[in-house]
């Protein structure tokens, strides 16, 4: 057991946690905007998959990782608009339309991959960025400051999201629309407009999350996300619709996953019980909420379509 708690193991687990966290974090932040404005988008995973394929394909063709990420973002934006048309304009039942978007993304990304690419061909990945000085600190440097630029940007998106939601007029409108759409409407806020905007932010971030995943792994495959989008949605609830909380949830989920993997490598977890250990991230996320939650309330208008005058 003593070899388990070495610094090397700690460094590896922390670095791994950060990598596993980022796609979840980006997608969950996007979903946070949507839910704060009263729209649940269960199709995040489908958008991530199409973002991942698009990002992968563009990098494959151009060799430029940033162009790939941009393409993933654009596809995400487009699907965000589509989600908004369905959920806001057509006022569809959100839980169900999201499942449709998920299935569409799952099938479509696979179909496009098979037809346009064929077998998995590796692509360029994001270059690591060593933060000057900080990267050279023993252990700490390796844990936190030798990642790729997108990882720093993803964590930077947390305070930015928090600022936008809590400190800007736009954020105030989002919250108003999510809590009291009728009142917001009376005050001249366009409920539909705000919800379109949050769906576009959510779609773009989901597209980026998928792009980050594919370009970090340097590969695409059928169902690349493996349900990460659904976990991201769960983490929005975990984080009680607050960017900091969402980040905490993503880090917790990523950390438990990384820790379990490390313990499997070190043979601390016997292979017979391996599946039981793989449950840990899910179980701990639920338990954490049982002990921590209770203080927060969902946006009142979540999943409720708004129609003026009814």
């Amino acid at each position: 057991m003593s070899e388990v708690f070495t610094t090397a193991v700690l460094v590896a687990v922390v670095a791994s946690t950060i990598r596993l966290t980022v796609p979840l974090l980006l997608a969950a932040l996007g979903e946070t905007f949507g839910q704060r404005s009263g729209v649940l988008n269960l199709g995040v995973d489908g958008i991530m998959l199409l973002g991942a394929f698009t990002g992968y394909y563009v990098v494959l063709k151009t060799g430029n990782v940033w162009l790939g990420l941009l393409a993933g973002a654009i596809i995400g934006l487009a699907l965000g608009v589509a989600s908004a048309v369905i959920a806001v304009t057509l006022r569809a039942e959100q839980g169900i339309s999201g499942i449709g978007i998920y299935l569409f993304g799952l099938g479509m990304s696979d179909l496009l991959f098979q037809k346009l690419v064929g077998t998995p061909i590796p692509i360029e990945t994001f270059p690591p960025v060593r933060i000057p000085l900080l990267a050279d600190i023993p252990f700490i440097g390796e844990m936190f400051f030798q990642h790729s630029a997108v990882i720093y940007l993803a964590f930077l998106a947390v305070p930015v999201s928090r600022f936008v939601i809590t400190r800007t007029t736009f954020g105030m409108k989002i919250r108003a629309v999510g809590e009291y759409p009728e009142a917001a409407d009376t005050l001249g806020v366009s409920v539909a407009g705000v919800r379109y905007a949050t769906q576009m932010i959510g779609g773009t971030l989901a597209g980026i999350a998928g792009g980050v995943l594919a370009i970090t792994l340097g590969i695409f495959q059928q169902n690349l996300t493996n349900g990460a989008g659904f976990i991201a949605i769960a983490l929005v609830y975990f984080g009680a619709w607050r960017p900091i909380g969402v980040m905490a949830g993503s880090l917790l989920f990523g950390f438990v996953n990384a820790l379990v993997l490390e313990l499997k490598t070190l043979d601390v977890i016997p292979r017979d019980l391996s599946n039981l250990a793989a449950m840990a991230p899910a179980v701990i996320t639920i338990l954490a909420l049982v002990f921590v939650a209770r203080r927060f309330r969902a946006p009142s208008a979540l999943t409720k379509p708004f129609a003026r005058g009814t």
Binding site: R91, S97, L276, M279, L289, V290, S300
Partner: protein, 400 residues
């Protein structure tokens, strides 16, 4: 919408909207087929024939529809209590596991006892996996979307653990092939076949009975009244003295129980009469945990309408497979088409509801007692029609 439609015309139009939406989605599918170099007319002909064109096709469709109907009815019950159950995938797995364990470890019994016992074990497994998020929501304010997504992950790992370890077929260890599956389960637990068929088992009949029972439960019993009252307004229900928390937990438990039954029927009605895993939830459930939600919506969130809705949706899935075999397109296309159909149907649903609402208003049923009248609207409409000012799932029992 034109106002001049007669009551009957409006009604007919309303019911044809889901069909029209499916056709619109298939039109996009036709374009995709052409782009893939396949003949869409041939494809759709094969799709229709494969789903409804022969006795064999009808049997396949009915069998595919069975888990959708079980899950769909469970979804209806949960929705009526204002609870979203997206954990049916995991609940089906638990139902399958409990039923399998019962069949493996119970002594040999005559079918007449064995079958009800193993199916009830499945019900218990699903109910447990529904009760957990229900209780977490009711007593700890853990949102059910979070807990069910997480419990789906737990369920698949539990299945893989059990099937590659404690429950594995001893012959697999002997041969060294280690396929994660149980031995063939006791023949006394095989679901009996109907009409001398060698595939059509009693599962579909059970599903239809379940749907009718759910209708009776929701609209003819005090429990159903409580479920619907909580769904319409938690505040009002609380003032009426209804134990809101217990009712919410119960709604998810019932929903899970039916998903568990679907899982059990999948095991004992399967070709292989055993439980086997490919490592994923969907490999066992066939995605019925999600598609059942869609079937429930197709069925206007009404247990009885969910019967034909599941049948048609099952036909779509079975037909999609024959289309794939006939014109040899990647099966990924079928998944994408499935998604498009769901999106189109759900997006057009508002118009159907609108037509029916006008209809109901014409008939002046709304003047009846508030509770019953409201029901008639929501029975035919979707959950949009819930009383305005309904509260968020977290409103209940917060800190003072």
């Amino acid at each position: 919408m034109t106002v001049n439609l007669s009551h009957k015309q409006r009604r007919a139009l309303a019911y044809s909207i889901p069909v029209l939406s499916v056709l619109a989605a298939l039109a996009i599918g036709a374009v995709m087929l052409v782009l893939l170099g396949a003949n869409p007319i041939e494809g759709f002909a094969k799709m229709f024939i494969g789903a409804f064109g022969s006795v064999d096709a009808l049997v396949s469709t009915t069998l595919k529809a069975t888990p959708l109907l079980f899950v769909g009815v469970g979804i209806v019950i949960a929705f009526r209590a204002n609870v979203i159950n997206i954990g049916a995938e995991g609940q089906m797995v638990l139902g399958g596991l409990f039923a399998t364990i019962a069949a493996l470890y119970l002594p040999e019994m005559p079918s007449i006892i064995m079958i009800p016992v193993v199916l009830l074990a499945g019900v218990a497994g699903g109910a447990l996996w529904g009760w957990i998020p229900g209780a977490l929501k009711a007593y700890y304010q853990v949102n059910e979307i979070l807990s069910t997504i997480m419990l789906n992950i737990v369920a698949v790992q539990l299945m893989n653990y059990l099937l590659r370890g404690p429950l594995i077929d001893p012959a697999e260890i002997e041969r060294g092939t280690r396929i994660p599956q149980t031995e063939r389960l006791a023949e006394s637990a095989d679901l009996p076949f109907l009409f001398g068929s060698d595939r059509l088992h009693i599962g579909p009949v059970l599903a239809v009975i379940t749907a009718i029972a759910a209708y009776y439960l929701l609209w003819r019993t005090p429990l159903g009244y409580r479920l619907r009252a909580v769904g319409l307004s938690e505040h009002a229900a609380r003032y009426a003295g209804i134990p809101v928390r217990r009712t919410i937990a119960l709604a998810l438990t019932l929903s899970g129980a039916l998903a568990g039954l679907a899982g059990a029927v999948l095991v004992f009605g399967s070709e292989s009469h055993r439980m086997v895993t490919d490592g994923s939830t969907t490999g066992f459930t066939g995605g019925a945990g999600f598609n059942g939600i869609v079937a429930a919506l197709f069925g206007a969130l009404h247990p009885i309408w969910t019967i034909p809705a599941s049948f048609l949706f099952g036909g779509l899935l079975v037909g999609g497979q024959s289309l794939q075999r006939a014109v040899q397109v990647p099966s990924a296309l079928i998944v994408a088409l499935n998604g498009l159909v769901v999106v189109f149907v759900v997006a057009a649903d508002r118009y159907r509801v609108k037509l029916l609402e006008t209809d109901v208003r014409d008939l002046q049923i709304l003047d009846e007692d508030a509770m019953t009248g409201g029901d008639k609207v929501s029975a035919m409409g979707s959950i949009h029609d819930r009383a305005p000012g309904g509260t968020g799932p977290f409103d209940e029992g917060g800190p003072p």
